[in-house]
Each structure stands twice: as structure tokens, then as C-alpha cells.
């Protein structure tokens, strides 16, 4: 059957620059580039190109450019090229379209419709280069109040907390969905930065236990790699209920990615598919969640905070309230632009709500119920820069999870082909030939650089607002104004319009 | 201050000077050589004959070598004998040179075939620089030469002569040329190349008589065949030049016997190079291996030990890199094994003139031949020398891309990263 699907990209090779060195040939796991023995020239099979830009980056003469295939269908605002292509693909495959990374559709990005405040005259801005600027963040359950004895000595003992030097964590990405070198990059960067990374639902590879102090060990519906040592290996536990990229459905790691190391870590046979059920089959209601939270606390002797991660869905505020009351110490909320290693395209692109709305709604709901101060709230799902972080915290988050930006830092070029396992950047792959492309020394360094850069920017912005401690930004919606938003959107975000 | 005396001035002698100087910068070194030259590259005499080597290329070390190393050079004088009791060397000019430590590095001298007419003018050997210079003066275009011996020296001489325009016939007693370094398959391939370049090769035969009046006009072979020629080059081999130790208590077998420190049976007297008989790690016996690298390395070990070191010579085995008419070949160790202890594998691509062979003894590589495709052959040399267990990658040894990538990771890391194996 001939494929009707057009090549998505064209590989442009500047023959004046190409030296036939074949670096592109050697770097492309999709076999796009090849040496034509007949004339000794390097050529390309465009149809295989996913625009991961490995070749573009590695070409020593900058001879390569990948462009979108300019071939268009007859203009049709409804039947777009994308719509037609998807039909063609499904007509050929008879299958659900799988994709990865976050929702790329043109939904409003509220971050970009929110602007920040700065001090002028009446309140001095603070120069972070001269004055202390504090970003230290404690995540975990807080009592309503501290008790003191008659001599004014503290009686209350705090439950375990996560201490972050910067209110940024690397969110859950499993060993299996990403490579061990990617995991190690995250773990080492988290350790160096004094923050945390999250194992995802893939268990913890034996070589990563040494980063336990900066690890959040996730427990998801598949319970892969969950055992007593695993639960006790990290600084915190996270029960994954849902993921922003695919609310309501489970996960699927194809057997070909389950090599010896993944198999040993996940405790499943080599080559077998790792299927995470859509729900936890021991959680069909909120009281079941409470049981699991306390089961995990018991298993770790109440030494670790327990986080519950949910996808941002319509009634996220009420769900978050329930989770807080079920005993979670941290609630992580993953917006619909959050990434994934593999998800059905229709789910990714159509299910869930934006994190900006979700975090505002959750913060307000918990505040109204008088329990906001008891739990920590973490915002996730496409935090792209430090301004997004500032806005998330001002809307009410205690900290953010980043994943896509972390992956971009270590090489991801957003080709959205994680699900194929042929990640040319050594991230979303288990192919040893590709995995080694990500040197964890470099990965960790780039992550540290990214977070450090954001840290500087956050401090600058805070200083501009006349704030010298991040806790004074939490829920401080006075510092936000909306631009180009409807009154309803402003109300949900709990912010005023610019000029108000 | 130690008086070091070295008889000979080639690879082993230079190795010894450099070996001594690694440890002792003050002792006096005296080098005694019959040849009136600074150390030169003996293998290059064929290049000299062919006209592709000049004085600069011939010089084995910079002109300042002797001065820089504080060497007293006695050239053009022969060491006649050694008084191992009085610890002195007796020179042809009657002088004596006292030594504390002595190295005998007198090299080899050509085997001369006893044959009728062997005293005629126009019979040459091909060992020394003077031999080449002499030959070059008579090797005119259109003349004819018979080379007796199809070994390394004979064929190198033949190649040089052909390049001078001489019509050359090589007579080899054995059933193949280069019998010490090639097996039949390789020898046939090389012989083809020689013949393509105009060399007439006669196997299984030898010269029994040189004919002519005063000078050479032809030879008669054992088979009865006669060949017209203007000159004869005898190149049937060299033997250790042990003249200087005759009538001394220094033990000789084929060459001067040495221990693993290159010391002879007499204290403070060492021997190295083509004159010495040392341990061969492939054959696992004492033998003379007259090749340049061995000479240097033995000399260096001897020198270090003369200067008080405790160095062991453990890299003795035959290995050669040579080319004829642009056909390169590298061979080492046992290339034509005899007996059930050995196993050999080979691959041949006649159209590319590629031939590869590896010889194993148990899990060790003990020899190889590489014809044309000599890339990275040194890895194999290294495997022989280090007695590496090759069983994990035995099947890859003949592959074009054979390298460390096929070796066990721990070994590779040890070699490439300097990481010691646990």
C-alpha cells in the first residue's frame, strides 16, 4: 500500500558546504542520511526525517537545514494539513496515533497574558547583587500553628519537609521512558543544585541510589520497581494519579525498551511491555488514596513527605482539597501542556486544563477552606522560563516541576518522537548506541546552568517587586495583572487587569 | 666513574648509549667501530642503492648524538680481542681500552657460500653501507646480476638493482622466497610482484660456480643451468660476528649467549644485537634474531643494566616490516608453524594482493602475516609480545577493522586509559 502521507520535512544540504564527512550519516538513528557509493555523495531520505536536528547541530560545516515540507493542500481553514495527514495516517495504520512531549495545540498560554509588577518610588526595589535574596523553599505538611512552652521554647516538631534551594524540581520521568544517562544527569544536577528530581514510575536504577537525598521516588499504578528499599531510598514519595499529558489513561513502555537494566529496575521480565493501568486498582475513591498515603508513610516510618500528583482536570480544586484532607503533604498538579514519553495524540491534545487556571483555582479553594497553609502545592506542565515560575508562585504554587525545559537543556529538540525510542539525543531511548550520546557530565552541567540562570532571573524579578524572600510571592496575586483576558479568566486567575 | 665500552656502532650500540644515559650521566662511554661512519641505518642501504636515501636519511642519530651523550668514538678500528680478566679490549691498532662494563654489539657478518670461482671480481655482499656504495658504482643500466639468496637482504638488493636498471635473477635454494618471514601463499604473491617488476626468480636451486675470467661473466646453478651476469651478490644470510670473543671465556652458541639481562656468562660483559643469542618469547628458546628493533632494545636493556639497572629483555621475537615495489608486508613470530600445538587461520584476496594469516598456540597469538593491508598490524605485534589471551576475540583478528573495540573492556581500559585491572 503506497503511503499517502507527505514527508513532514525536507533536508536541505548546501553542496557548497558539504564535505561528505558523513557525520550526519553516523548520527541519524532514523537513517535519513546515507552515502551514495555510486558518486560518493551524502544524500537524504527526507521522508524519514523527524527534524530532531541532530545532524544540523553536528554538521561541522553547517551545511544542513531542515525545513517543513512546503507542499500544501488546497487551502482549507477546516481541513488543515494536520487534519488531513492524521486521517491518512490512521487510514494506513488502523491505529491510535501515538505521540509524545506536551500538547502543542494553539490553546491560550496564560503565562503570556500575565504581567508582573515592579517597585517604583514608594517601595524600593531590592538589588539581588547587593542584598540577600532568598529562594529557599520547604515543601511538606505544616501545622496550623507552632506551640511553645511556658518558657517560650518550641514544642511542635515539624513533619519531614523537602528543602529546596530554588523552588524548582525536575518532574517525574521514568528510567525506561528516558535513558539512564538522562536520569543520572537529572539526579546529579538536583544534587548539585540542592533540589529534587523524580524517578517517575520506573523504579530506581541501582547506580542512582547514591543520589537518594535529592530523589523523589514515585509510586504509580503499575508499581514498577516499588519495594521497601526503593521507598526508603529517596527524600520523599509521590503517588502518581495522573499526568497532564494524558489524564485518565495509563502508561505503556513497549517491550523493546525493556532491556536488562530497565527490566532489573522495574522488576519485570526483559522484553515485556510495561503497562501502567489507567487507575490505581487499589484507589477507586479518595479514602483509598488516604490508605495508600498512610501505607507509604508507615512503610517509611513517617520519615518522608508524601506527594500526590494529579492531572489538571475540570474539578481539580475539589480533588486537590480531597487530597489535602487525605493526608498528602504535597499536591503536584500537572497542567495539560505537560510532557510525556508516549501518549495517544487525541488525549494529549484534548484532555485537561491549563496549569495557570488549575493552580489559581486550587490555591483559592484551599485558602477558602482554610487548609492552604497545611499543604504544599507544586505546579507542573510546561514551565518554560523563570517568568512562568514567578507567575506560578504568585498564583499560589509553592514550587514548580520542570521536565520539558530540563530535557531541552540536555539536548531535546522537541521532535515529539520519544515514543519511537530512537531519540537521537540519547534521552528518550534505551538503545546503548544512542544513550551514550548524552554524557551525564554535560547533561548535569547544562541543567545546573539552566536552573542557576533561572535562579538569577527569579531573584532579579523578586528584587524588582521589592521582595527578598520567595515566600512573600506565594499567592501574591497583587503582583500580577492580566493583559487581553476576559473578566471571567481574570476572576479565575484571581488577578486584576493591567491598569486596575 | 664507570668506564663503559661498546664494541660496535649500530642499533644495539646506540640503544646501549641511550640506555646507559637513562641512569648514568657521568660515566665515560667509548664506542669502537670498524666502520668509519657515525651510526647509520643499516636497513637503508637498499634505499641508498635505489637512490631514495641520502646522507641525512642514512644517519641514525643527529650529528650531535655522540657529543651530547659524552661518547668517545673510535672509528675505523677493529676490536680484536677481549681480556676479560684484565677487563680491557685489545684493538687492531694494538691499543688497549680498559672497561668496567663492556658491551659486545658487533652485529652479523655475511655467510659466504663456498663455491667455485668465489674469488672473482664482481662478487658482492650486501650488509654494510660500503657494500651498497660499491654495488651502486657498478650497477649500471643494462648490466646483469645474479643474487644468491631470496631472503630479505637478497630481495632488497635485487629491488635496488632493478631500480638501477639492472637485469636481476634471484636464486633461492628454498622452495619459496622470503622463507623466514612468509609462508607459501604469501611468498607466491610477493614473487608475482617481483616478477612483474622484472626480477627473475629461481627456486630450489643454488649457485655452484661463478664463471668468468678475472671478473664475473656468469654462474652455473646446481641444476646445471647457467646464467650470464656481470655481478653476483651473495645474500644467503648473516651469522653473528663473534670474532672478537674467539679465544675468550665468553660462551658462544650460534651467537654470544646472554641471560635475560643481556649479560654474557662473564660478569660485566654484555652482548646485544645480531651478535647475541637471547630469549625468544615466541619460540621460548635462546636464539639470534637479527632484526633492527631487537638490536636496539637489547642494546638499551644491556645499557641500562650496565649502568646498574635491573632491566629484563622480554620482547625478543622476529618481526619485520618490509616492502617490495610498493607491496608492504608485516610479519612476526612463527608464520609457518610445525606441529599440533599450533593453529593457523588466514584470508586471502588475491586481486587486492591482501593476505592475512594468524598463528595461534593455545590462546596466544604467536605469529602473523599481513600483506598489503598492514594497517594497525602493531596491535598484533603487541598481542604477541604481551602474551595476551586472544580467545575472546580470536575470530576478529583477521578483520579489516580489528582493534581494541573487540577486546575485553577491562583490557581495553587498561591499555587505553591506563586503568589497572582489578
Amino acid at each position: 500500500m503506497i503511503s499517502y502521507v507527505l514527508p513532514e520535512f525536507l533536508v536541505m544540504r548546501d553542496e557548497n558546504r558539504c564535505i561528505q564527512c558523513q557525520v550526519c550519516v553516523r548520527q541519524c538513528a532514523n537513517d535519513v542520511h546515507y552515502l551514495d557509493e555510486k558518486d560518493g555523495k551524502v544524500k537524504a531520505d527526507d521522508a524519514k526525517c523527524v527534524n530532531c536536528q541532530r545532524c544540523v547541530t553536528f554538521c561541522p560545516t553547517h551545511a544542513l537545514t531542515i525545513i517543513p515540507n512546503p507542499q500544501e493542500f488546497k487551502a482549507n481553514a477546516n481541513w488543515t494539513k494536520k487534519a488531513i495527514t492524521e486521517v491518512q495516517k490512521q487510514a494506513e495504520s488502523g491505529a491510535v496515533i501515538l505521540t509524545s512531549m506536551g500538547n502543542p495545540q494553539e490553546y491560550p498560554i496564560y503565562w503570556d497574558k500575565i504581567v508582573l509588577n515592579a517597585s517604583q518610588v514608594t517601595n524600593p526595589s531590592i538589588d539581588p547583587l547587593r542584598e540577600p535574596m532568598e529562594l529557599k523553599t520547604y515543601l511538606g505538611r505544616k501545622p496550623d500553628k507552632l506551640e511553645f512552652d511556658e518558657k517560650g521554647r518550641l514544642i511542635t516538631k515539624l513533619t519531614p519537609q523537602l528543602v529546596l534551594n530554588v523552588p524548582i524540581m525536575f518532574s517525574a520521568m521514568s528510567f525506561g521512558s528516558i535513558s539512564l544517562n538522562a536520569c543520572e544527569s537529572l539526579a546529579r544536577a538536583a544534587t548539585e543544585l540542592g533540589i529534587y528530581y523524580n524517578t517517575g514510575e520506573g523504579g530506581l536504577h541501582s547506580s542512582l541510589y547514591r543520589y537518594g537525598k535529592n530523589t523523589i521516588a514515585q509510586v504509580a499504578s503499575g508499581r514498577f520497581g516499588v519495594h521497601a528499599n526503593y521507598l526508603n531510598a529517596g527524600a520523599a514519595l509521590e503517588i502518581k494519579i495522573g499526568q497532564g499529558a494524558k489524564p485518565g489513561i495509563g502508561g505503556h513502555l513497549p517491550g523493546e525498551k525493556v532491556g536488562a537494566e530497565v527490566s532489573a529496575t522495574r522488576m519485570i521480565p526483559e522484553g515485556s511491555d510495561a503497562i501502567s493501568p489507567a487507575p490505581h486498582h487499589d484507589i477507586y475513591s479518595i479514602e483509598d488514596l488516604r490508605q495508600l498515603i498512610y501505607a507509604l508513610k508507615e512503610a517509611t516510618n513517617y520519615t518522608k513527605p508524601v506527594s500526590v500528583k494529579i492531572a489538571a482536570v475540570h474539578n481539580v480544586a475539589a480533588i486537590a482539597s480531597g487530597i489535602a484532607r487525605a493526608g498528602a503533604d504535597i499536591i503536584a498538579i500537572d497542567g495539560f501542556r505537560g510532557g510525556t514519553g508516549a501518549a495517544p495524540l487525541r488525549i494529549r491534545d484534548n484532555v485537561g486544563i491549563p496549569i495557570e487556571m488549575a493552580i489559581a483555582a486550587v490555591d483559592t479553594r484551599l485558602k477558602e477552606e482554610g487548609i492552604r497553609h497545611q499543604v504544599s502545592v507544586v505546579a507542573a506542565g510546561s514551565i518554560r522560563n523563570s517568568a512562568d515560575i514567578i507567575k506560578a508562585i504568585a498564583l499560589g504554587a509553592d514550587a514548580v516541576y520542570i521536565a520539558t525545559s530540563a530535557l531541552i537543556a540536555i539536548g531535546c529538540h522537541m521532535c515529539q518522537k520519544c515514543n519511537t525510542g530512537k531519540c537521537n539525543w540519547g534521552i528518550a531511548t534505551q538503545d546503548p548506541q544512542l544513550v551514550k550520546r548524552l554524557n551525564p557530565n554535560i547533561g548535569a552541567r547544562r541543567l545546573v546552568n539552566l536552573v542557576t540562570a533561572w535562579e538569577h532571573e527569579i531573584k532579579e524579578m523578586l528584587g524588582g517587586m521589592g521582595i527578598n524572600s520567595i515566600e512573600s510571592l506565594r499567592g501574591n496575586r497583587e503582583m500580577l495583572r492580566g493583559v487581553g483576558l476576559t473578566q471571567k479568566e481574570l476572576d479565575i486567575l484571581g488577578i486584576k487587569a493591567a491598569g486596575e | 666513574m664507570v668506564e663503559y665500552v661498546i664494541i660496535g656502532n649500530s642499533a644495539a650500540a646506540v640503544g646501549a648509549v641511550e640506555g646507559i644515559r637513562q641512569r648514568d650521566n657521568t660515566g665515560n662511554i667509548t664506542v669502537i667501530s670498524e666502520e668509519p661512519y657515525y651510526a647509520y641505518s643499516r636497513p637503508l642501504i637498499s634505499y641508498l642503492l635505489a637512490g631514495t636515501a641520502d646522507d641525512r636519511k642514512m644517519a641514525y642519530r643527529d650529528a650531535g648524538f655522540y657529543k651530547d651523550n659524552g661518547v668517545l668514538l673510535l672509528l675505523g678500528v677493529r676490536a680484536v680481542s677481549i681480556d676479560t680478566v684484565g677487563k680491557q679490549v685489545i684493538l687492531s691498532n694494538g691499543k688497549m681500552v680498559a672497561y668496567d662494563k663492556l658491551l659486545i654489539a658487533t652485529g652479523g657478518k655475511p655467510f659466504v657460500l663456498p663455491m667455485k670461482g668465489g674469488d672473482k671480481k664482481g662478487i658482492y655482499t650486501f650488509i654494510k653501507r660500503d657494500d651498497a656504495e660499491q654495488l651502486k658504482s657498478v650497477a649500471k643500466c643494462g648490466t646483469k646480476a645474479v643474487v644468491i639468496g631470496g631472503g630479505l637482504i637478497g630481495l632488497k638488493a635485487a629491488e635496488g638493482l632493478v631500480k638501477c636498471g639492472v637485469d636481476v635473477t634471484v636464486v633461492e635454494l628454498a622452495d619459496r622466497i622470503l622463507s623466514t618471514i612468509l609462508d607459501e601463499q604469501a611468498a607466491v604473491m610477493v614473487q608475482e610482484v617481483l616478477e612483474e617488476h622484472g626480477i627473475n626468480v629461481i627456486l630450489n636451486d643454488t649457485v655452484t660456480e661463478v664463471i668468468g675470467d678475472d671478473g664475473v661473466s656468469g654462474v652455473i646453478l646446481k641444476s646445471g643451468q647457467s646464467i650470464e651476469c656481470d655481478m653476483v651478490i651473495t645474500a644467503i644470510g648473516v651469522r653473528p660476528n663473534t670474532d672478537v670473543v674467539a679465544n675468550t671465556d665468553i660462551s658462544i652458541n650460534r651467537g654470544i649467549k646472554t641471560d635475560d639481562h643481556m649479560c654474557t656468562n662473564i660478569e660485566d660483559v654484555y652482548a646485544a644485537g645480531d651478535v647475541a643469542e637471547a630469549y625468544d618469547i615466541v619460540y621460548e628458546d635462546q636464539r639470534v634474531t637479527p632484526i633492527w628493533p631487537n638490536a636496539y632494545m637489547q642494546g638499551e636493556i644491556a645499557g641500562r643494566n650496565m649502568a646498574g639497572d635491573d632491566a629484563v629483555f622480554d620482547s625478543g621475537f622476529a618481526r619485520n616490516s618490509i616492502a617490495f615495489f610498493g607491496l608492504p608486508m608485516i610479519t612476526a613470530g612463527i608464520i609457518k608453524p610445525v606441529g599440533d600445538d599450533y593453529e593457523a587461520v588466514s584470508t586471502v584476496q588475491p586481486e587486492k594482493m591482501i593476505y592475512k594469516k594468524a598463528v595461534f598456540k593455545g590462546n596466544r597469538l604467536v605469529g602473523f602475516i599481513r600483506l598489503t593491508d598492514i594497517d594497525r598490524a602493531g596491535i598484533l605485534t603487541g598481542l604477541i609480545k604481551d602474551k595476551v589471551d586472544i580467545s575472546p576475540f580470536k575470530d576478529k583478528l583477521l578483520d579489516k577493522d580489528f582493534g581494541f573495540v573487540y577486546m575485553p573492556k577491562s583490557y581495553r581500559k587498561e591499555r587505553l586509559l591506563g586503568v589497572k585491572r582489578k
Binding site: N16, I19, Q20, C21, V23, R26, Q27, F58, P60, T61, G426, D431, P432, Q433, K436, N439, N441, I442 | G15, S41, P43, L44, Y47, T52, A53, R56, K57, A59, Y60, D62, W292, P293, Y296, M297, E300, R319, N320, S321, I322, A323, P328, I330, A332, I374, R376, A377, G378, I379, T381, G382, D386, D401, G403, F404, V405, Y406, R415, L416, L417, G418
Partner: protein, 146 residues
């Protein structure tokens, strides 16, 4: 002395080391000129061994006990003032004895450029060898491990 070491765990087999070695040893030091115009093109002093997924760059180890120097029949192969093992191509006759001797297989026959051997010279004019500078994954390091 400082040497180049290959970390095979991170070698991506791109061979940019070889390419940049060629550029560094070209006349123009310009990659396009070096590859498209200049004749003869230098041989790379580094080679990449590869048997997927393993690969690593390998070049002269500049051995303390360099058998190539000891084996060299002309004295062309020597140690220079930086302790780098180099070949004096004016003296080299292309006998390939060093190729026979080098246990790393790090010396190449260069038939293009006279008949001499070609090997790593640790880029004497650069602050660090070009292969190291251009390795995209830091799989080559230039350090002193004694």
C-alpha cells in the same frame, strides 16, 4: 605528561575528532578549504574504533617506553622537547616498522604525502588538541595521568 584519553562511554562515533584533526593539520585550517580544495589532505592523527555500540577515538599514546622510537630504523621517530612522540618526515622513509611496532595501531601509512607515517602530534600550536576541543560529547579528555 598530558595525554588524550577516550571515554568510550560517551563516544558517539561521529568522527568529528578525525575531521577536526584534519582541519587542524591542514594549510588553511578552514574546514571547507581543507576538505574541498587542499591537496593532499592530511590524514587524521586520531582514528575511531567502532563496533556498535562501542566506539572511541584512539591516537598515539605517546608512550613513555615508546616501541615505535626504539624500532624506527632511521631515527625519524623521536620524542620532542614537549615529550611528544613525533616523526621527522624528512628522515622517514616509509618502512612502516613503526606500524609493525605500535601496539595501539596508532600510526598510519601516509601514501599521499611522500611515503611517511602520520600520527598524532598533540597539536603543538593549539591550547589543547583539536580532537579534544571539538569532541561534542566530551568523550576525549586531555589530562595528565602520569
Amino acid at each position: 605528561m598530558k595525554r588524550v584519553y577516550a571515554l568510550e562511554e560517551y563516544c558517539v562515533g561521529c568522527r568529528l575528532c578525525e575531521i577536526n584533526c584534519i582541519v587542524a593539520h591542514s594549510q588553511s585550517k578552514d574546514i571547507i578549504w581543507a576538505f574541498k580544495v587542499e591537496e593532499p589532505r592530511p590524514l587524521p592523527g586520531i582514528l575511531v574504533e567502532e563496533a556498535r555500540p562501542i566506539s572511541f577515538g584512539l591516537q598515539c599514546r605517546h608512550c613513555d617506553d615508546a616501541v615505535c622510537i626504539k624500532s624506527c630504523i632511521t631515527g625519524a621517530m623521536h620524542r620532542d622537547e614537549r615529550d611528544t612522540v613525533v616523526c621527522d618526515t624528512d628522515k622517514c622513509v616509509g618502512c612502516w616498522t613503526c606500524i609493525m611496532a605500535c601496539p595501539y595501531g596508532a600510526i598510519k601509512a601516509n601514501e599521499n604525502d611522500g611515503k611517511v607515517v602520520s600520527k598524532c602530534d598533540l597539536c603543538p600550536d593549539l591550547s589543547q588538541p583539536a580532537c579534544v576541543s571539538h569532541c561534542p560529547n566530551e568523550a576525549l579528555i586531555y589530562v595528565d595521568r602520569g
